[in-house]
């Protein structure tokens, strides 16, 4: 990347910013003495894991801190003004006109009851600019500028009628409306699919160039940083760890923490793996499921194919990755395999048992052979049961005595790296990574042959993610498990899968070994996916 940074004026100067958390938090300050300059015409990335305070910094710039968080010191200077010292009217004037912001969740950041155009027009209205007629015209122009299709039509649409990427474009259009000098983007692509993410990143880059804006870009993803940052600021626990030009920080990090973080990012090149040659443990054939929604006496129903003629087999000791974007049907396939939802067609054979034929008690008994690790470490553990109960409920339901089950639970906890004292505790007392370990212990307690991991590491920070992946790999080898690994993250898939199936709209479009898929993608969709993975520049380096 050509770093022709002429040192122009500083757009925003943050000095010694300290943001205090309410009492009882895990630390007194969310942000503790952070200072940086955001220069006009550059994209500065704030990088860090969750809890690093990066998002707080962004919100502080907009004066949108949560009520519980208070400014304990420091200054944010924008031109002549210290933003932190201004009153409510001053903030209103600053927001939107001088600094604009794009949020993480495009699905919830727009008012569901207002038309897109009206929400854009509000930007002008808030600052008393233009006539209502002109505002509408500008809204259309903005929609066109951010590349929304059919701008005239889309300004009359409601948010729910737009896709996630379109909504984020609308958000960006809104932020650009008053041509602010500074754009704060808080994880703007995190909730998007990888191909959409690539487009939005490109849009932000283009707009920033065209308008010569200063962009403060918040992200946890080093891939994204690689693709977009001019300069990087690494945060940890509310403090700046390292700061510098993107190339320098990513290429030759000075601090151990930065090095560790970068090392934890999975690489795009799959390691060499021996081809599994065990017997087939699970065989899926012609699995189909169609969802029918809506439809009344006078309206045609809408149908969505969650799975279309999906077939694959899994050998003992093998990990098969199911990758795809949201809505591709990968999670539905996982649930179909688990019989959490009923297939319309097709069979799932577990050894010599046809799972799809079983019902009632027979199904309940067979369930112990195939277990699942869920995505959300917070939603997958019953908050009202102790860890011990959570792990032993399964074995007890299958006739193991509570005592034996407990003994097994202690062993499993040790195996996943937790203390036996955890048995008496409740889930809320654990961190996300620890909870995911408990979830794994629960699945293993039934001594299954097959483990289905549904986005099992997606909600975790990159360092924790690396640990859990290693653990899964270990356990698989130790117990000779087969694993069906569902993920949207191709980097993760590359690291853990023997073979990978790419899904789109309920279909498997390509299925081959990981090494071959990355080296030699055949299907155009697979190629698009691979091309869109952020940070490939760094992998290549």
């Amino acid at each position: 990347m050509d770093q022709a940074l002429t040192p122009p004026g500083v757009a925003v100067a943050v000095r010694d910013l300290r943001l205090a958390l309410p009492h009882g938090g895990d630390r007194p300050n969310a942000v503790d003495g952070v200072s940086f300059d955001l220069l006009a015409g550059e994209i500065l990335c704030l990088v860090g894991e969750s809890g690093s305070g990066k998002s707080m910094c962004a919100h502080a710039l907009m004066g949108l801190l949560p009520k519980a968080v208070t400014v304990a010191g420091g200054s944010i200077r924008l031109g002549q003004t210290d933003l932190l010292a201004q009153d409510a009217a001053g903030w209103r004037d600053t927001r939107g006109r001088r600094i604009a912001m794009v949020f993480q969740e495009p699905m919830t950041a727009l008012n569901p009851l207002m038309r897109i155009g009206d929400q854009m027009a509000e930007m002008f209205e808030a600052h008393g600019l233009l006539t209502p007629r002109e505002r509408r015209a500008r809204a259309v122009a903005l929609a066109r500028e951010v590349g929304l299709p059919d701008p005239e039509g889309i300004v009359r649409a409601y948010p729910h009628q737009l896709s996630g990427g379109q909504r984020q474009r609308a958000m960006i259009a809104m932020a650009l409306a008053l041509e602010p000098a500074i754009l704060v983007a808080d994880e703007p692509t995190t909730a998007l699919d990888v191909t959409t993410q690539a487009q939005i990143l490109k849009l932000i880059r283009d707009l920033q160039r065209r308008r010569n804006m200063a962009v403060l870009f918040i992200t946890h993803d080093f891939g994204v940083v690689t693709d977009i940052a001019d300069r990087v600021l690494v945060l940890r626990q509310g403090r700046v760890v390292e700061e510098g030009p993107a190339a320098a920080v990513l290429g030759a990090p000075r601090e151990a923490y930065t090095q560790a973080l970068l090392a934890a990012v999975p690489a795009m090149n799959p390691p060499a793996r021996p081809a599994p040659d065990g017997p087939k443990t699970i065989e899926v054939a012609g699995l189909s499921k169609t969802y029918v929604t809506g439809g009344g006496w006078w309206r045609a129903p809408r149908t969505v194919a969650a799975a279309r003629d999906v077939s694959f087999a899994l050998r003992r000791g093998e990990t098969l990755g199911l990758v795809g974007e949201s809505g591709s049907g990968k999670s539905s396939v996982a649930r179909l395999v688990m019989r959490l939802i009923e297939p319309d067609l097709g069979t799932v054979r577990l050894g010599d048992t046809d799972l799809t034929r079983l019902n009632g008690e027979g199904l309940r008994q067979a369930r112990s052979r195939i277990q699942m690790v869920f995505q959300d470490p917070f939603a997958s553990l019953n908050p009202r049961r102790t860890v011990g109960q959570i792990i032993t409920d399964g074995p007890v339901a299958h006739g193991v005595s509570r005592f034996d089950a407990m003994e097994r639970a202690v062993r499993l906890l040790a195996l996943v790296g937790l203390d036996a004292r955890a048995l008496e505790r409740f889930p809320h007392e654990f961190s996300g990574g620890q909870r995911q370990r408990i979830g794994i212990a629960r699945a293993l307690a039934l001594e299954p042959e097959v483990l289905v991991a549904d986005e099992a590491v997606s909600a975790l920070d990159v360092s924790v993610q690396a640990q859990v992946l290693t653990l899964l790999e270990d356990l698989k080898a130790r117990f000779g498990l087969s694993m069906l690994f569902i993920t949207h993250d191709l980097r993760v898939a590359a690291q853990i899968c023997d073979r990978i199936a790419v899904m789109r709209r309920g279909e498997i479009v390509e299925l081959k070994t990981a090494a071959e898929l990355f080296a030699n993608p055949e299907h155009p969709y697979t190629r698009d996916l691979l091309a869109a993975v952020p940070g490939r520049a760094r992998d290549a380096a």
Partner: protein, 323 residues
């Protein structure tokens, strides 16, 4: 939308039919029958008289036969005949329905308008003295027995202060017409509509407040703030509008309670509505009339539910997709 309404109406008819059958048997479980009541009132009876009355009320026919006959007439939108009152049930209800609609309608508007207004105020100043005062006041109105408030209001405003009439729908025999009559009715309406409305207001205050607090945490409110909108616009346009959705749902569910609650108010204020008609019909075992009132008031609830659903759909553009 038309399809949706037609579908709902069809479903409503089924619900009504079920209500008719259920209540038909229910009220016949009560001791006594209309003949017995009328005989008792006459001050003297003999077997001939009671037998005549039984024939008159068609009580000498079999129960399924009576039900079939009733359902048959209902199907042709005929609510039957009140032998006791010597009038078609539809006429009797038709005379009373406007009064009830006026009362419950006004009470509903008062409750929801005040409730939303106060709830929004309380939410905006959550935790403040104003919030405590509003929620406390609402709770007080909710906790005080409706009839007790009504009696107290009559004593204060009608007897002591002589500001408002204490009973009835209008000044009988005054011969008002046009605007003068409307003003007269409005005067009579104030106390019953207020006491009933304030009782139900509490529910909306609570709901609006909770809903607004919930919505104000949502992301799009932050977006609105990031635009530099004033707090007033954010509250009205972004928070309140979204917060009203559950309030609309609740309003639909409250309809049945509101119509029921009118029985007490109508009794205390001598308001000639169908709530009282129902109570009198019950005491007199005037089966056709009682069933008729149930059918009509249930139909009112169904229609009201439908209206709230239509309103909901009109307010929330997402419904069309999500069904």
């Amino acid at each position: 939308m038309a399809g949706f309404i037609a579908q709902r109406l069809a479903k409503g008819v089924l619900v009504l039919a079920a209500i008719v059958v259920l209540n038909f048997f229910l009220i016949r479980l009560a001791p006594g029958d209309p003949a017995v009541v009328m005989a008792g009132e006459a001050g003297a009876t003999d077997e001939i008289f009671v037998a005549q009355l039984r024939t008159k009320f068609a009580l000498d026919q079999s129960l399924p036969g009576q039900l079939a006959a009733y359902l048959g007439s209902i199907a042709t939108l005929d609510l039957g005949y009140s032998v006791r009152q010597q009038m078609p049930v539809a006429t009797l209800i038709g005379e009373r329905l406007p009064a009830t609609l006026l009362l419950t309608g006004c009470a509903f508007l008062i409750s929801i308008a005040l409730g939303v207004l106060l709830g929004a105020l309380a939410a905006r100043r959550a935790g403040s003295l104003a919030d405590t005062a509003i929620t406390g006041l609402a709770l007080l109105f909710y906790a005080t027995p409706l009839f007790w408030v009504s009696l107290m209001a009559i004593i204060l405003f009608s007897v002591r202060l002589e500001w408002l009439p204490s009973f009835g729908f209008e000044t009988v025999g005054a011969g008002y017409t046009g605007l003068a009559r409307a003003a007269d009715i409005a005067q009579h309406l104030v106390l019953p509509a207020l006491t009933l409305g304030l009782f139900f207001m509490a529910v909306y205050v609570r709901m609006t407040r909770a809903s607004m607090l919930e919505v104000s945490r949502l992301d799009f409110v932050k977006t609105a703030r990031a635009k530099g909108l004033t707090e007033g616009v954010i509250q009205r346009r972004h928070i309140l509008r979204n917060a009203l959705l559950p309030v609309v749902t609740l309003a639909g569910l409250q309809a049945g309670t509101l119509v029921g609650g009118a029985v007490l108010t109508e009794t205390v204020f001598a308001w000639p509505g169908i709530g009282r008609l129902m109570y009198d019909a019950l005491l007199q075992r005037d089966y056709n009339l009682l069933l008729g009132v149930f059918v009509v008031s249930s139909a009112m609830v169904l229609i009201f539910n439908l209206v709230t659903d239509v309103v909901y759909r009109a307010v929330d553009p997402r419904i069309e997709v999500a069904r």
